[in-house]
Structure formats: structure tokens, C-alpha cells
């Protein structure tokens, strides 16, 4: 599974990437903005995208919709509680929500209904 990470916080991006790679997930790229994310998506053709809800001044859900339209499975993530965003997540055609604190390859695969490993 090839994964694109989208977050405006550089420290998190780095930590997340090394964690997921260690877990055995392929991180094809990272982006800090919607524009960068769309460009990377076009170039790298990832299967999964992890998108921060609070993408700086931008709305992560808009990006999620655009990525999902390309057939990419989108998982929303946030420091904040996910149940606040339940409706928005559903409407955005994202696959689901994963709290940043619980980030792991296994959690991602579980969320997508894919077998672990």
C-alpha cells in the first residue's frame, strides 16, 4: 500500500512517516498543502492518503473530496476528537477517521478493511 501524508505540521509529518515506514507501509510522499497534495497525487498515484482535517487555513475535507474523486482512499486525521467531525467525515467520502495519537499501519489497514501485514 502506497500512502501519501498530508499535514501542515512538519514535525508530525516526519514522525508519522518514520513510524509508518517502520511498520512496513510505503510512504510515497508528504505534502503540507492542498496544492502540493494534488500535485503529488497526480505524480505518485498513491493508494491511500492521510489528510489532516485542520490543514492550516485550508479545509482538509475539500482536499479529501478531491483526492477521493481520483480513487484514492482518504483517511482523515486530527489532533482534535474525531467524533466532533463525524458528519463531515461521512459527507466528504473519506474512508474514516484516525486520531493522530493512534497512528499505526495496522490501524490504517484496519480502517480500510484490509488484512493486516
Amino acid at each position: 500500500m502506497r500512502c501519501l501524508l498530508v499535514d501542515d505540521n512538519a514535525a508530525f509529518l516526519e514522525t508519522a512517516r518514520s513510524l509508518l515506514v517502520r511498520d512496513g507501509l510505503t510512504v510515497t510522499g508528504t505534502a503540507s498543502s492542498s496544492a502540493e497534495a494534488m500535485r503529488q497525487a497526480g505524480e505518485l498515484q498513491p493508494d491511500i492518503a492521510l489528510v489532516d482535517i485542520g490543514l492550516g487555513p485550508e479545509n482538509g475535507f475539500d482536499l479529501a473530496r478531491d483526492l477521493a474523486a481520483r480513487g484514492i482512499a482518504v483517511i482523515m486525521t486530527s489532533t482534535r476528537a474525531g467524533d466532533d467531525y463525524a458528519d463531515l467525515i461521512t459527507e466528504s467520502q473519506a474512508a474514516g477517521f484516525l486520531a493522530k495519537a493512534e497512528l499505526s499501519a495496522a490501524a490504517i489497514l484496519r480502517l480500510l478493511g484490509l488484512p493486516p501485514g
Binding site: 508519522a16 513510524l19 485542520g54 475535507f61 476528537a81 467531525y85 463525524a86 463531515l88 495519537a101
Partner: protein, 769 residues
Amino acid sequence: MDSSSWPARGAGHQEAARLAGEQAALHRVATLVAKAAAPEDIFAAVAEELAQLSRASIAVVLRYETDDAATVLGCWNSAGAPARVGTRLTVSGEGIAVAVLRTGQPMRAARFAGPPGSVAEYLRSIGMRAGIGSPVVVDGRLWGVVITATTRPERLRLEDEHRITAFAELAGTAIASAQARVELREIAEEQAALRRVAMLVAGSAAPGTVFAAVAGEVGRVLPEADFAMVARYDADGGIEVVGGWSRAGGHRLLGRRSELGGRNVSTAVFETGQAARVDYLADGGDAVSTAAREIGMRSSAGAPINVEGRLWGVMIATSVRENALPSGTEQRLAAFTELIATTIANAEARQELRRVAQEQAALRRVATLVAQGASSPAVFHAVVEETGLLLPADATVLMRYDADGFVTRVGKWSRPGIDLPSGERSPLGGRNVTTLVFEAGQAARLDNYGDDAGDAAVWVAAGLCSSVGVPISVEGRLWGVVVALSMSAQPLPADADARLAGFTELVATTIANADAQAELTASRARIVATADETRRRIERDLHDGAQQRLVTLGLQLRSVQAEMPPGLGKLRANLDRVAAGLTSALDELREYARGIHPAILTQGGLEAALRALARRSPVPVTLDVRTRERLPERLEVTAYYVISEALANAAKHAGASAVHVGIEQTGDVIRLSIRDDGSGGADPLRGSGLVGLKDRVAAVGGTLSVQSRPGEGTTLLAQLPVSPARLSSRGAVMLARLVIKGSASEVPGGPLGARTRLARTVPGPRMAG
């Protein structure tokens, strides 16, 4: 008669016969007196008997008047037409009348010379050459004189003097008793007349009725008068008849106007302020007398009517016959003029009272509006309408002076049928009241307009005749002006500016209030907005800073744990504890952050945030959101906090099992309702959370109410206006009532006008229904 005057015995039959005749004549007259015949009959008899006995050419009974005149009361002239009874002659020059007046004794005269109109001249003019006169004494004072005169002086003899004295004494007696009777009758008549008028006055009859009644009564008590009038002096040097009577009837006197000036009673009374009389002499050569005679005026008497110290008008009696009005007529009018003055003073006082009462009522109505916090447009409209009806004016406008040399019309009223020129803004300049008030800072008035009327020209073309403007000063500076306009020839009342003064103060108060209110509202809104912004910033800083770092820290810890070689159970357990602690810290921080500001509200909008609230609420919540579009941000924030606090109360205090939250928009008002089925009895002042909500809701111009009867649950209702700084609902209702009731047209937008929708800072997904 003393015996020394008797002729010697043997004077002869002729003498005896003459004496007998004299006795008989005296007896005839005495009989008349005893029978209380009318004085004029007695005087006529005296004159005739005396003339015949004396073989004089003329005998005349004259009454001395107070002004060196004498009135003919009886006259018999063998030579031709006797002088008419009632004729007034002056007592001047040389002659019997003058001499008797001066001495009080019987006098003879062989020469008559006097100015025209005098007794002497009259006698001379009819050819008299000699005469005798005897004083008539009544009640001890010189009342008049009886004169016989002859064309042939030789006819006068000594005994004629005795004879004339005897008749004069008889005349005196007759007059005394007749006078007493007449006086009594006159007094009684006059009293009755005065009483009739006094009853009208006491019954608050209309002034016109009283004036007409007085004129009629004067005619009744002055038999010599042919006309009687009550006339009022006008401010422009004219005089107008306000009550009239004519003996012949059929004369339209009421409403007649003329200018003062010339030789007449109205002018004389006006100039001197005293009673006056004017006689237009039968042969007076001056132009006025001639003209007066031509129209038949013979004499006039007038008494001033003073109302509360000022000369108001005159009461006039006029005679057109040869008989002049008797002396003392103007004094008799005085009693009537006092009644007239009382009536006028009463009527004016009542009118003034009525006007003051109306003015007070109008001021009270407007003041009530101001006290109830009505909007400025509502007060402006009330002021122009009330003042327009009160003055009364044809139209009233309220103008605000703008900073750029223009004025804006913020209130207008006009009588039905009068259309005001359109146009809210106009430039200052030209000769019109609005500009004059602006330049002088004081009230101004114009009663005539020229070509230089500036922007008022369009009004002048529509028929403007006069206008009054009173400045409105708010906290020491000139803010605007109230202008009352009159289209008819009738100018606005002289004290219009004073009457408007009270209203301008109310307008100034309203504006000051509204300014203060607006200032307060804006200040509150700023404070709340600043506080909310601060909270957002804190939440964002927390999120971007500490929370992110902690999350990253936790992931790093997990990495460390994953890379641990197996077997280090204790170390692993310790690390697990650290991880758990970190997770707890994160969770706590997340909760705090959400309490400070719910990010979902900014990112997802009110409905999403409410759904989140509902999900977290320990008490089941039903959401009924009926608004279709996103609301302005400040309203979404306010609504969120209101609902959040209400839900917390329902869970914490009310012991409710279910809560219903409703949001809907009616017109320009958002209505929130949070209803729980708990125990009720919430005291809106007790829970500090609710007090804070009241402030927050008020800061956006809304209202909050709590219904919480014990046992019936609690309902929180909030109404939030969508447009900022709108009327409170009560002010809107009052304005609506005024608009429906009165003739107001559009309500100007003014400073409270245009709506603005606050831009949203974060675009959000559209909410479905």
C-alpha cells in the same frame, strides 16, 4: 310769588285775566306732573304754555350737560319750526344760557352772540332780540334753564320774569320726580340687561354670542342709539366688528373691517385709551362731519374694552337721527364693556388652557416613546406629526445637518391633500429657514419668500407661505432642525417657535440616547468579538503548539517502544505507563481546548457543532434545525454557546430525560429554543451561566428569556436579529403602530439603515436542510 310783585289794584281786567290764565296754565302743567306724565310731555307743555302766556316768540326748556352743552327738552316756536327735542347746542358766547349757567340766577339778555351750534347763535339766527331765562334747579343743583325770547324786545316785562321762574320751579319739580322714576327705570333696565349678559358669560357662551347679546342690550338701554357694535382692534391698525345690532334691523355689521384714522370714536378711543364721543354737527362744515351726515351718522359714543391690562377693542353706540346721544352715554357703556372684557378673558384663558393641555398631551406621548426606548425614526415621526397637528401647520419636517453642507430629511408629515416634494437630501443655501437656523444657530422664521429661496424654491412653487424653524442641539452641537410650514395665507402662530421648543428637546434626548445606545451596543459587540477571537487563537495555538508536540511525542514514544529489544519487561511496563500518561494529558488538553473554543464550529458550522454537542450530551437531544443557510459567524457563535450552556444546565441541574433544541428563522430574526422536561424552577438570575448568556445575546442585539415553572421543565428562548443594530422587537412594534395609524410615508434608512452580512472566515460545506 311774593306780594310785592303784584300789580297795583285796579290794573284792570286784562291783568286779572292774564293772571288767571297764568294760574290755569300752571295748573295744567302741575296736573301733568301729578299724573306722572312723561317728562317730554311736561317739557313740551311748559314750553308751549310759557310761550303763549309770555307772548314770546319762542320758549325752550334746556338741560345743561356736563360738557358745556345743553340739550333741548321742550321747545315751542310761534314763528316756525321749533328746535327738535334732543337737539344739542353748546353753551358759549354771550347769551341767556351762558349767563344762567354762570350765575344760577334768572337773567335777561338783550343780545345773543355765539359760535355756530350754540344756544345764543340759534336764538339769534331765528331772529330773537331779547329774552329771559330762569334756572331749573333739581335736588339743589342747577339742572337746566327755561328761556323765553322774543323778536320784539319791548314785549318783555318784569312780571315775565316771575312767571318764568314759576314755570321753572314747576319744571324742576317735575324733573325731580320724573328723573327719579326714569333713573329707577333706567337702572332697573340696565341691571336687567347686565344680568342677562352676565348669565351668558357665566354659562361660557361663545364670545360671538356674548358680543351680539351685548350689542343688543346696549340698543335696548339706549333708546337714542340706532346702532351698537363691539369691535376688536387688530394688530395691523384695523378694527373689526365682532358683534353688532341695529334698531332698524337688517344690517350686516358682523365682520366689517376698517382702518383706524380720522375723526371717529374708534380712533379716539384707540389713541387715548379713554371713553370718547364724537358729534357730527348738523351744520359742521368740516369734511368728516359732512361725510358723516351724508351717511346719516349724527353722534357716536365709545368706551374702551380692556382685557387684562391691554386695550382689546371698543364698544360703540351710534345715533343717526337728529337727536344726539345723551351725555354720559359712554359712561353707561362702561359697565357693559367690563362684561365683554370678562368674556374675552375667560374665552382666551380657556383657549389657552386647551392649547396648553393639548401641547402637554402631545409632549407626553412623545416623551413616553422616548422613555420606552423607541427607535429614533419612530420618535422623529411622532414629533413631526404631533407638532404638525398642534400648531397647526400644513406640513412639518425634521432635518439633520450633514457634514458636507447638505441636510437630510429624517422625518416628514403633511396634512391630507398636501403633497411634499420628494428628495431626502438637499444642499444648504439660499434664503430659507433651514439655512437661517444653520447659520445663526437660533430659531428663525420667514413669512415671505423671494426668488432666492434656495432649495426651498420647490416648496415655494408648491405654495409655501411661511415657515418656522427651531434648532435641535445634541450635547452642545447643532444637530438638525424642525421646520413647520404653512401653505395658506394664514401665518403660523407668533409663538410657534416656543411651542416647538419642548419637542426639539425630546428629539435631542432621543438622538443622544440612540447614540449612547449604539455606542454601548457596538462596544459590547466588540468586547464579545474580541473575547471570542482570543479564545479561537488560544485554541489554535494550543492545537498547533502543545497538542501537536504531545501527539508527536506520543508517536515517538511508540516508535521507541516498538524498537525495544524483547525481554525488558519492567522497562516496557514503565514506558507503557509514560505512554498512558501522555495519552491522558492529550485527552485532557483536548477537552480543555474544546471548552475554550469548539473548532468544529469554525470548520463545520453551527449544525455540525450542534450535532457534536448532542452526541456528547448525557441527556438525549433532539435537534430541529430549520435554517437553510449558514448564519453570520457572530450569530453561530452566540447560538452555539447558548445551546451549549442550556444543555449543560439541563444535564446538571434539571434532571431532565430529554432535551429539544430548535432553530428557525422568521423574517430577519433567528429563534432558538431549548426545551427540557426536567424539574423546572430555574431562576434566571441564579445560574451564572445564564447571566453570561444574556450579555452575549444582548451584545448581538438579541433577547433571551427563560420560562421555568417548577415541575414543568425549562424552556430557554433566544431571538437574534440577523441584521446588526436593528430595532428591538418592541421598538419595531411601536413603529409599526405609528405607521399604521398616521400618515407617515417611508421610514428613512438613516444611520441605522443598510444591513450588512458579516463575511464568513472559513468556508464550510453546505448543510442539508
